[in-house]
Amino acid sequence: MKSAFPLGPETDWQKTSTPDILRPTRMSRLARALALVGTIAVAVAAGLWSAHLALTSEDLFKPIRIGVWGAHPLAGTPEADPYSAAIYARTGRIPLANGEGVAFVASTDSSGELLSPACNYRIAGQTPTARLWTLTSADRDGRLMPTPAGRVSLSSLGLLRASDGSFEVSASRAPRPGNWLPLGTGESLSFILRLYDAPITTGATLIGLAMPEITKVSCP
C-alpha cells in the first residue's frame, strides 16, 4: 500500500494485517443451508436412535443391580425415573407394587454372556428374604414362550432345597430331575425372579444381598 507519509511508528498500523482467526469469513449461502439441514437431520436421527436404544435394551437402566439381576423398584409409581416410566408404558406392563414385591430380570448369565433358550443353565444359590418367590423363563421382552411341559415357571414353595436352604434349578428344554425350569422355543431368553413380600421393597438395605448365580452348563 502506497502511503502519502513515510513509513514510521505512526503509520505502521496500516501494514498490520488482521490475524487469520479474527478475520470474518462466511460460507456460501448454499453451504450454510446444507450445514444447517445436516446438523438438524443428524441431531434428530441421533436423538431418536438413542431414545430407541435406551427404551428397548432394558439393561442400560436398572436402578438396582445385584449380580446379573436388575430391577426397577420404582417403575410404575409417580416417582419412577423417566426411563423406567417410558419402558413400562411402552410395553404396557403392570408393575409389581412396593407392598407386593419386586421383579428382578436377568438376561445374561453370570459370565456376562447373553442367555439363549437353546442352552442349559444352572440357577443356584440363595435369594434375599421373601415370603414367596417365583422364577419364570421368558424372552427378552418378558413374553412367555410355549414349552412342551406346559409351564414356564416354578415357585419357592414347591422347591427341593439343600439342608442349608440353598437351591439348584436346572433350566433347559429337555426335562431334568430335581427342580426343572422348562425353556421355550424362542429367539431370546431372560429369567424373571419375583420376590413377594420382600423386606427389600420396603427400604431394607441391598448390601450383602445374594441372588442366585446363573451358570451355563452346556450349549448344543
Partner: protein, 194 residues
C-alpha cells in the same frame, strides 16, 4: 478457508447437533408414556363393566392378558370412576400369598398391600376423593376404623388383585375367591338428623 478453521467449524456443527440430539432424546423419552400408555389401557378398560372384579384368564404363553404378569398367580381387575361415588373394596382369598394394588388411570401405583400387611385374612379398603371424604367424615360409617381409607385426587383407576396359585387343583378355589372380592360403591347413609 484454512484447514484448521474448517475443523473448528465442523466441531461446532458437531456440538450443535449433539445438543439438539440430547433435546430430541429427552423429548422422546418424556413423551412416550403419554402416547403409548393410552393404548395399553384401552385394552384393559374393555375388560367389562366398572365396579366389579373380573378374573383375568390364566397367564399362559401366547395368551397373556397383560404383559409381564406372573404365570404362578391368578389375577382379578376392577375399574372404577370416583365420580360415581366412593369405592369400597374388600377381598379374602384362600392363598398363601395374595395382594391388592390400587392404580390410577395412568397405570401408576397409588397404594398396595398384601395379606400379611393386614394381619387378619381379609383386606378392606375405601377409595374416595377429598370432597367425598369430608362428606363421609360428617357421618362416618360404623366400621370406618377397620377400613384403610385412601384419599386420592384421581378421577379413575383400577384395582388389581393377585393371588398365588400353589398347585393346579387350587386354581378353581382361588379364582372363585378372586371373583368373590367386592368392588362396590359405598352407600352414603342418609344423615340421621334433619
Amino acid at each position: 478457508m484454512s484447514g484448521r478453521r474448517l475443523l473448528v467449524r465442523l466441531a461446532l456443527y458437531g456440538l450443535a447437533s449433539l445438543f439438539l440430539a440430547g433435546i430430541v432424546h429427552i423429548f422422546v423419552v418424556l413423551t412416550v408414556p403419554g402416547h403409548v400408555r393410552a393404548e395399553a389401557f384401552a385394552r384393559l378398560a374393555r375388560i367389562g363393566s366398572d365396579r366389579q372384579f373380573h378374573v383375568l384368564p390364566a397367564v399362559a404363553p401366547g395368551a397373556e392378558p397383560l404383559p409381564m404378569l406372573d404365570p404362578e398367580m391368578g389375577h382379578a381387575l376392577c375399574w372404577f370412576r370416583l365420580a360415581d361415588g366412593p369405592v369400597s373394596l374388600s377381598a379374602a382369598v384362600n392363598s398363601p400369598f395374595w395382594s391388592m394394588a390400587l392404580f390410577n388411570g395412568a397405570g401408576e401405583v397409588v397404594y398396595s398391600l398384601n395379606n400379611r400387611t393386614s394381619g387378619s385374612g381379609e383386606l378392606a379398603m375405601l377409595v374416595l376423593t377429598t370432597p367425598q371424604l369430608s362428606i363421609l367424615r360428617a357421618n362416618p360409617p360404623e366400621n370406618l376404623d377397620e377400613l384403610i381409607v385412601i384419599e386420592t385426587d384421581q378421577t379413575e383407576g383400577f384395582v388389581l388383585l393377585r393371588a398365588f396359585i400353589a398347585d393346579r387343583p387350587s386354581t378353581e378355589v382361588i379364582s372363585s375367591g378372586l371373583k368373590a372380592a367386592r368392588c362396590d360403591t359405598l352407600k352414603p347413609d342418609m344423615p340421621a338428623s334433619s
